[in-house]
Symmetry: C2
DNA sequence: TGTACATCAGTGAACGCGCGTTCACTGATGTAC
DNA sequence: TGTACATCAGTGAACGCGCGTTCACTGATGTAC
C-alpha cells in the first residue's frame, strides 16, 4: 500500500499534502459544529496536525480563513437547493412547473438551514454583501449561487405568466426575506424548540404565503 | 446642590448607587454598539467605574448579565412597536384599522431593527425561546412583548373579518418570519448595503406581501 | 545518471492581549441597644 | 440622642485560559548543471 514514489504521479502532497484545502475543510467542520465564531485558526491547525503559524502560508489571517469557509458554506447551500430542484418532474403544465421550482428553491433553503445550522449561519456571517454573493466560488454545481437560483426561479415564474412582469423587480428580496426569517427563527431564535414536523409545516405554509403574496 | 443627607429620601445610592442598574445600562450600551458578543462583563464594570469582581454581587456570571441585557432589548423593541401603533388614527373602518395596526407592528419592528441593529440582534441572541419570550420583563409599556403585540394585531384582523378565522392559528410565525428575515438581511446580511429609501420600500412591499398572502 | 543548490512549506518558541472568575479583604452603611 | 456592632457592597490581586500573530529556523523537495 505504501507508495514507492517512482515516477511522481502528481501525488498532490509535498509536505503535508494540500494544507490549504485541509485547513479549509477543518474550518468548515468547525463552522458546521459551532457557526462562524467556532472557526478558530489554532483549532483548525490542531485538527490538521500542523503548527499554528503554518496556516499563514495559506491564509493572510484568521479572517481570510473564515471568508473561505463562508464561501464554501454558500456553495454547499447552493448544492442543497440544486438537489431539491433536481428532484422535480420535468413534464407538466409550465405554470405549475415554475411554481414547483420556486417552492423547491425555498424548501431546499429551509432544509439546509435545519440540517446544517452552523454552516447556514456561517454562510450569512457578516462581511458579505450582494456583490460578493455573486462570486462563482459560492456557487453550486450549476454555477449559480443561492441568490441566483432564487432569481432564476422568479424569472421562470414571469416566463410562465404566473408572476406579472411588473411585480418581478425586487421580488427576490421579498421571497428571500420570508424564507430566511423562518430559517433564523427556527435555528437560532425563539422557534428553536419546534419539532421537525411542525417546522416543516411552518415552511410549507410560509411558502404558500409567499406564492399568494408575491 | 449637594444633598445634606438629612431624612434619608430613599437616595437609592448606598455605595455606588444602584450598581445592578448601572451595569445593565452599560451592558445595554455595549450591545447597542456591538451586538451580543460586545456585552463584556469587564468592559461594563470599567465603564461604570467599578472593579470587575463587583459585578458578581449582582449577576451570577457574564451570561446572567447578557440575559438581562437581552430582556431589556426585547422590551425596547416592544416600546418601538407600541410607538408605531400609538401614531395611528383611532376612527375609521374597523377592517382598515386592523390592517393598519398589523402594518404598524411590522413597520415598528423593521424601524427598530434598522435604528438599533445591535440591540435588535441582542434581543434575538440564542438561549431564548418562545416561553421566555412571554416574560413580562421583556414587555413594553402596554405590558405586551413584541410577539404578543403581533399576536394581538392578528387577533384584531380576525375580529374585523379581514383574516379568516381558520387561517389564524400559526399566522404569527408567518408574518414574523417575513419581517424578521428582511430585518436580518438588512442589518447583518447581504442587503446591508441598501440605502434607507430602498430599505423602507422593501419593507413596505414585504408587508404588502404578508397582507395579501396571509 | 549524479551532485550542488535554492526554494519555501512547515517548525518551535515566544509575545501580548483581554477575558471570566476566585478569594480574602475592608470600610461605609444601617441597625440594635 | 449616642455608641457598638454586624452586614455586605465593592476592592485588589491574582489565576489560568486560549486566542491571533511574529520571527528566525530547518530540512525535504524539485531543479539546474
Amino acid at each position: 500500500m505504501t507508495d514507492t514514489g517512482i515516477s511522481p504521479p502528481k501525488r498532490a502532497t509535498y509536505r503535508h499534502g494540500d494544507l490549504r484545502r485541509a485547513l479549509l475543510e477543518a474550518g468548515t467542520e468547525l463552522a458546521r459544529d459551532g457557526g462562524p465564531d467556532a472557526v478558530v485558526l489554532r483549532e483548525a491547525t490542531r485538527r490538521v496536525g500542523v503548527v499554528p503559524s503554518a496556516a499563514y502560508r495559506h491564509f493572510a489571517d484568521r479572517d481570510a480563513l473564515l471568508g473561505a469557509v463562508c464561501s464554501a458554506a454558500q456553495s454547499a447551500l447552493a448544492v442543497a437547493m440544486e438537489a431539491e430542484l433536481a428532484g422535480l418532474a420535468r413534464e407538466g403544465d409550465p405554470a405549475d412547473a415554475a411554481r414547483a421550482r420556486l417552492r423547491a428553491v425555498g424548501t431546499g433553503y429551509l432544509r439546509f438551514a435545519q440540517a446544517e445550522p452552523g454552516l447556514f449561519q456561517t454562510a450569512f456571517s457578516a462581511s458579505d454583501n450582494l456583490r460578493s454573493a455573486a462570486s462563482p466560488i459560492r456557487a453550486g454545481d450549476s454555477g449559480l449561487t443561492p441568490f441566483q437560483l432564487l432569481a432564476a426561479a422568479l424569472d421562470e415564474l414571469v416566463e410562465a405568466d404566473v408572476l406579472p412582469r411588473e411585480r418581478r423587480p425586487g421580488a427576490e428580496f421579498l421571497a428571500w426575506s420570508a424564507v430566511h426569517g423562518l430559517a433564523m427563527l427556527l435555528i437560532d431564535g425563539p422557534l428553536r424548540g419546534l419539532d421537525h414536523a411542525r417546522a416543516q409545516d411552518a415552511g410549507r405554509r410560509l411558502i404558500d404565503m409567499v406564492e399568494r403574496g408575491l
